[in-house]
């Protein structure tokens, strides 16, 4: 906590959805600070508001109340071209339902952030190849997203989020559709870029073993953060603590 250089901070965050006058509170007052170069996991029951929180942190959604401070700046002041530039260059977001464009090939989907950045094509293609190689989908690059399996799509979406080397990666259940071996590859890559590039990473997951690779785990329940624990070095101990907390949270 002491040497935390703040990257994103949520202050008294609220988010509700209203339809036909019925208002549902999803996020009910969250304070959360994500430090630079931290690897955080968010856990919680389905419907507890994890995706909603992640989208708020990624500046994709706007809070109904409270604020998001991104690099010391209130997100309300971020809009238009500046916000677009942040999305393009600084934040990589892996959506729970991927959001790949069916009308583009997998390669083109992965390259899209670079294309939007008007970067040089050869370089863009090279980095797309390299990242897809790491995620083991290089044989699928010419296919269309609808031809891929759920796990393959997931990895394509991860590649797209990583290609611009963003300083903040927000991944919504990036391993949800993957077998243990593939999930391991993804997590090891996250750990690698986290170490070598000092990337800040926040992932949402239901898997305790995935969470145990992280430095910090936040538990969400009914729109509030109930538990916030840190890894003190021993992964197995941390794993047990996660299991224990998960049980408590699930019990209600």
């Amino acid at each position: 906590m002491n040497n935390c250089e703040e990257l994103v901070r949520a202050e008294g965050l609220y988010r509700s959805f209203s339809k036909y006058g019925n208002k549902t509170e999803v996020i009910k007052g969250i304070d959360l600070c994500i430090c630079r170069n931290e690897l955080t996991a968010i856990m919680g029951r389905s419907g507890s508001g994890k995706t909603t929180l992640l989208k708020l942190l990624g500046l994709i959604d706007r809070p109904t109340d409270g604020s998001i401070i991104y690099k010391g700046e209130n997100s309300r002041k971020l809009f238009g071209d500046r916000l677009a530039a942040i999305h393009r260059n600084d934040i990589g977001f892996v959506y729970q339902d991927y959001y790949l464009m069916d009308s583009l090939s997998v390669l083109e989907n992965i390259m899209l952030p670079k294309i939007l950045n008007h970067e040089e094509t050869g370089e863009a293609m090279k980095s797309a190849m390299a990242i897809s190689e790491k995620m083991q989908i290089s044989s699928l690059l010419d296919k269309r997203p609808y031809e891929l399996s759920g796990g393959e799509k997931q990895r394509a979406a991860i590649c797209r989020a990583l290609i611009n080397d963003p300083e903040l990666i927000l991944a919504d259940e990036p391993t949800g559709n993957l077998d243990t071996a593939s999930a391991d590859i993804v997590m090891r890559h996250f750990a690698m870029i986290h170490r070598s590039l000092n990337t800040t990473i926040v992932i949402v997951t239901h898997d305790p073993s995935v969470a145990s690779c992280c430095e910090r785990v936040v538990f969400l329940k009914d729109g509030l953060i109930t538990v916030d624990i840190r890894n003190n070095g021993d992964r197995e101990v941390f794993f047990d603590r996660i299991i224990e907390n998960q049980k408590n949270v699930l019990k209600g």
Binding site: I60, G80, L83, A84, A85, H87, R88, D102, L104, Y146
Partner: protein, 699 residues
């Protein structure tokens, strides 16, 4: 139990009230449009009216063609409303099926639903349609001062309308299903996503085939014997579609392969081409075709009329009479009247094999064109009588009569008509004398193929009857003398020469020989005399039906006041229908584009969310959306201009417009297509705003 089910259906329907109402409304529109068309056809196709309006196709036929286009437009409209409607209903049915509803109950629900919407729409549709048709009739009758008996509406009309519109309804359902598989508008699932090939297997072959079609069809359009046929424009468009589509696909594939920089720079902008080439090009084709039909067929028809010569100028004489030897006495009597100016010229009747576009059944009499054959010197006299400054020129005729000169006596504001209709022949088969009753083309030896040495569109005796009849065929003086005796050698029943007839029927058989009209009588006098003469000549009409009534539009005499009224009425009707068609085409064009955008809405919304998340600025996203829609404005406009240039030139050439007229018409046409494109641009802009409001957001 039953009641609970019924109330469930009712409740269920009420939930989608908005969609239901718009569906019922568009269906009512379809039905009323169709009703107007059918009733209009019946009203204006009474026996008298038919004759009255036969200058080109007849007003009732105009109603039918307008009606079929309206039906098409109605179907487009119906599809456009069916999509959001089904979008709401189909998920419900899918859900019910998963819930285990029995097939019988589901069928009952669907039938009830379709039946209710149909019944609710048919009554207002029929009512408004009938009302509109009678208002239209009243307007046309009073405005154009029609004084003949109009046709009545038959009892079967309404059931037929119900059946046909039901079919249209079913057809739009099927088409919606087709669109559904194209776009997945209703139940977009990833399994149904369809890939479209962007390059065909043999592009070179298609490009060549398409170019050939373009060249051949436009070349044919420049020849009068093709009668400015609309199918040529269709072939041209098909050719252009094949050629342009394949050329573009080759270029696209080349860009993708060899110029990746350019390709990736335009990745999103050109995505609809790379990804859905067939659908995109088909839409462009459809929109271009509608534009062309609107501007060229409806629009130019009006421009032609606006710039047409006065109806009075089409008729230099008050009465034209095709008299025979027996009338000599009567006309000699008339000549004594000093108020009447009579010109008499020698003529022969010339028949050509077929003036209609269609074959009659085998035992029916083939309708034949009947023209006026004159000698070269008569031609020069007639020309001189109209224009004192006329200087005779050589017409390129020869003594054996194989060359003829043709004067198409017709209004230049209508399609140019060839002399011989059958087979689009450039060399007409002409027969001298009244038409033969049975013409077995293989055996006849009395219809001779003639070369057309020259032709013009002009009125030298008057544009009487339909343009298909009473045109002038000029023979050389030497041949004309021979031609005057030709009738003595032809059996009118079979079309055989007398010799062949005897050889076939035996020497005792008596061939039927008829001389036909021999004097072309042109009369000028004062209006009161015209009426009186008209009545007198009417009485003589009966004696001049030489071989039974082969063609009701060919008469013994024609009088100008009637014809002028007819031409004026017809021009007005044509303009009215042209304006209607133009508006309907415009509606079709806009609806087509709008429904396309609506169908892609869901997909675009998803893409928009993603692109926003990836950090594409709002400005760029708006530009992307706008560009994607603009393609459907710009490319059809380009094709409209290209094809208009080709076919306008063709029209000028076959109608033999002089340069003044060409300039006037071209200016007007240019103004019209500019206005067309501008109006389309405005609507495209509105569509962009509407769609943008749905899609674009910058939270």
């Amino acid at each position: 139990m039953k009641n609970a089910f019924v109330s469930f259906i009712v409740k269920d329907l009420r939930e989608n009230k908005r969609e239901l109402v718009s569906l019922i409304m568009s269906e009512s529109i379809l039905i009323s449009l169709f009703t107007v068309g059918v009733l209009g056809f019946q009203i204006f196709s009474s026996k008298d009216a038919d004759e009255y309006f036969m200058r080109e196709d007849g007003i009732s036929r105009l109603f039918i063609s307008a009606c079929s286009l309206m039906l098409l437009c109605g179907i487009v409209l119906l599809i456009a409303t069916l999509i959001p409607y089904l979008g709401k209903r189909v998920p419900k049915y899918t859900f019910l099926r998963r819930m285990g509803i029995s097939v019988r109950d589901k069928r009952r629900m669907i039938i009830t639903e379709a039946g209710v919407t149909y019944l609710l729409s048919i009554i207002p549709g029929l009512l408004t349609g009938t009302l509109f048709a009678y208002v239209l009739k009243h307007v046309i009758v009073s405005y154009l001062r029609i004084d003949f008996e109009l046709g009545s509406v038959s009892a079967f009309t309404y059931p037929i309308i119900c059946v046909v519109t039901l079919c249209a309804y079913a057809l739009s359902f099927l088409l919606t299903g087709e669109l559904e598989s194209d776009f997945g508008v209703i139940s977009s699932t990833q399994e149904t996503a369809r890939t479209e090939r962007s390059i065909s297997r043999k592009p070179a072959a298609w490009i060549i085939a398409g170019s050939i079609l373009c060249v051949v069809s436009s070349a044919a359009f420049f020849r009068i014997e093709y009668h400015e046929a609309l199918y040529l424009t269709a072939i041209f468009y098909l050719g252009m579609y094949l050629a342009v589509k394949n050329i573009a696909s080759v270029i696209m594939a080349g860009t993708r392969k060899n110029r990746p920089d350019k390709y990736y720079r335009n990745l999103l902008n050109s995505n609809q081409f790379y990804n859905r080439y067939q659908t995109t090009t088909r839409y462009i084709l459809a929109l271009s075709l509608i534009s062309f039909l609107a501007c060229f067929t409806s629009g130019f028809q009006m421009i032609g009329i606006v710039n047409a010569q006065n109806a009075e100028d089409l008729f230099p004489y008050d009465i034209m009479c095709l008299a025979d030897e027996n009338d000599a006495k009567y006309f000699d009597g008339l000549k004594k009247d000093s108020d009447i100016e009579i010109h008499e010229y020698p003529m022969v009747r010339v028949a050509n094999l077929d003036k209609t576009e269609h074959f009659e059944r085998i035992n029916e009499i083939t309708i034949q064109g009947q023209q006026i054959g004159i000698s070269e010197s008569t031609y020069h006299e007639l020309k001189g009588a109209i224009d004192p400054s006329y200087v005779p020129e050589d017409l390129g005729l020869n003594d054996d009569g194989s060359n003829v000169y043709v004067v198409h006596q017709q209004d230049r504001s209508i399609k140019a008509q060839p002399v011989d209709w059958r087979y689009n022949k450039s060399k007409p088969d002409l027969h001298i004398g009244v038409p033969c009753i049975r013409v077995l083309d293989e055996y006849h030896g009395t219809y001779y193929e003639k070369n057309i040495a020259g032709e013009e569109i002009a009125s030298i005796t008057g544009c009487y009857s339909t343009p298909k009849c009473e045109n002038i065929i000029v023979f050389s003086d030497r041949y004309f003398e021979k031609a005057q005796d030709e009738w003595k050698n032809v059996d009118i029943t079979t079309g055989y020469s007398v010799e062949a007839f005897r050889a076939f029927m035996g020497d005792d058989a008596e061939p039927l020989l008829i001389q036909g009209p021999t004097r072309l009588v042109l009369i000028n006098t004062d209006p009161s005399h015209v009426q009186q003469l008209d009545r007198e000549l009417d009485a003589l009409e009966e004696e001049h039906k030489y071989i039974g009534n082969l063609d009701s539009s060919v008469h013994f005499h024609y009088s100008t006041p009637d014809e002028i009224q007819q031409v004026t009425v017809e021009r007005a009707a044509r303009i009215a229908i042209g304006v209607c068609m133009l508006v309907i085409f415009l509606i079709m064009e806009i609806l087509l584009l709008y429904s396309k955008c609506q169908m892609e809405l869901k997909e675009k919304k998803g893409r928009e969310k993603m692109l926003r998340g990836l950090g594409m600025p709002l400005r760029d996203r708006r530009r992307l959306l706008s560009r994607e829609i603009n393609v459907f404005l710009v490319l059809p406009a380009v094709f409209l201009i290209i094809s208009s240039a080709v076919f306008l030139t063709g029209t000028y050439s076959v109608r033999m417009y002089d340069s003044n007229l060409v300039i006037r018409c071209t200016k007007m046409y240019a103004a019209m297509i500019t206005a067309w494109i501008a109006v389309n641009a405005i609507f495209t802009w509105l569509i962009k705003i509407l769609i943008g409001k749905e899609i674009l957001s910058d939270e």
